[in-house]
Amino acid sequence: MPGTYLPSDYLPILIFLIIATAFGFGALLIGEIFRMRRRYSEKLMPYESGITPLGEPRYRFSIRFYIIAMLFVVFDIEAVFIYPWAIVFDEIGIYAFIEMVIFIVILFIGYIYAWKKEAFRWD
């Protein structure tokens, strides 16, 4: 019946999630009672091999991280398309295979383009 579906298979995961979160917070909060607290400014400084930190830590970083992130989105979505295809592969047979060859070839063209544009080079 539409609208009445209860994802009851996922209920144990929700319970697990609650228990795991409670464990994380609980361990930190209970420990808070026993822990010593002796704070002074040197201890609260960010670690930088024993010297006073120089400059801002959140400085500009390489553009390559952005490129990797964008490529990840492309490839991950492609993987999301491949999964259902793989599951029903037996039922559709040869037709599914040809479709996927075309799909992967198109993807490969983009992949080679990214390679030639040196998106995977780090130096």
């Binding site: 298979d9 995961i13 930190l28 704070r39 992967i104 993807l107």
Partner: protein
């Protein structure tokens, strides 16, 4: 709803909670002794003894370490982004722990038998990357920031290779449900998918090592350059939560390898035909043997292989593993059609 159905639901939830408690307790005990096992294995590989002081052969060392971390001062750097800093290790740990719910430990024992088990584990390992990134960003320390960035780029790069390496298994099993994948392996003439899917298996293992940030791919925490990487500012029990998350992540990856490629709790039929007495060994024993063999493999390469450079790491992920995994998918599909 009648009283009876309510009682039924209550009983079911009660059983689920008991199961979760068992898995949770075993997972914690596993982490404690996985650290001991690691130190012993690496110690002996380097011709020393490893921990020996606490208890006979150092057997109580994990508890001593746990207690020490529990009572250590919880230092939060002044410039840290406090709420985000607080929550990051919990996100990391919870994402790792929740994946335990979908792993079939033996016939019929799985906390949540959902039909998208593999996808769920991938989703959770992606969520774990958030814990890493925001811990690196919120610490306001250069080492943590660089470690977080590197780790994020590494985890997402290898996740693609890992996801694609499992597609061969999905084609052969016709399901994303981990229990059905194990059953499909037991039915197939090979007994385990590692034999026909050997390429996928190798890609998976390499990607799994990178995904869990282990040597030789432990660039995010490269001690010699980044001190400890993204958790450099964490101390006491917050550090312990990262540690727990990492070891549970290793357990998840090992179980995923055991379930998807090595036949989970089953043993191949051609083995039991020759040695019929092996069928009396309970499934959980086989599962644990396979998982611990993998964990031993993790330690073994840590003791053997030096760390990669970052450009090499990215080159392996993008230029070798992804094309190999894609070709593997096409070959698997072709063979499946021809046979």
């Amino acid at each position: 709803m009648t009283i009876d159905t309510l009682i039924n639901i209550g009983i079911n939830i009660g059983i689920t909670i008991i199961n979760i408690a068992i898995v949770f307790a075993v997972a914690m005990l596993h982490v404690a002794y996985a650290t001991y096992f690691e130190r012993k294995v690496i110690g002996h590989m380097q011709v020393r003894l490893g921990p020996m002081r606490v208890g006979p052969h150092g057997l109580l060392q994990p508890f001593a370490d746990g207690l020490k971390l529990f009572f250590k001062e919880d230092i939060i750097p002044e410039d840290a982004d406090k709420p985000v800093f607080y929550i990051a290790p919990i996100i990391f740990l919870v994402a790792a722990l929740v994946s335990l719910a979908v792993i079939p430990y033996y016939q019929g024992f799985v906390i949540a038998d959902i039909n998208i088990g593999i996808l769920f584990i991938f989703a959770m390992s992606s969520l774990g990357a958030y814990g890493i990134v925001i811990s690196g960003w919120s610490s306001n320390s250069k080492y943590a920031f660089l470690g977080g960035l590197r780790s994020a780029a590494q985890v997402i790069s290898y996740e693609i290779a890992m996801g694609l390496s499992l597609v061969g298994v999905m084609i052969m099993a016709g399901s994303l449900n981990l229990t059905e994948i194990v059953n499909a392996q037991h039915e197939s003439p090979y007994g385990m998918f590692a034999i026909p899917q050997i390429i996928g298996f190798v890609v998976f293992v390499i990607a799994a090592v990178a995904e869990t940030n282990r040597t030789p791919f432990d660039l995010p925490e490269a001690e010699s350059e980044l001190v400890a990487g993204y958790f450099v500012e964490y101390s006491g029990f917050r550090f312990a939560l990262f540690f727990l998350g990492e070891y549970i992540g290793m357990f998840i990856m090992s179980s995923l390898a055991a379930v998807c490629f090595l036949g989970g709790w089953t043993i191949p039929k051609f083995v039991t035909n020759v040695l019929p007495f092996l069928t009396y060994v309970p499934g959980i024993i086989w599962f644990l043997i396979k998982v611990y063999a993998f964990i031993f493999f993790f330690y073994w390469i840590r003791a053997t292989v030096p760390r990669y450079r970052y450009d090499q790491l990215m080159a392996i992920g993008w230029k070798i593993l992804i094309p190999v995994a894609l070709v593997n998918i096409l070959v698997t599909g072709l063979v499946k059609i021809l046979l």
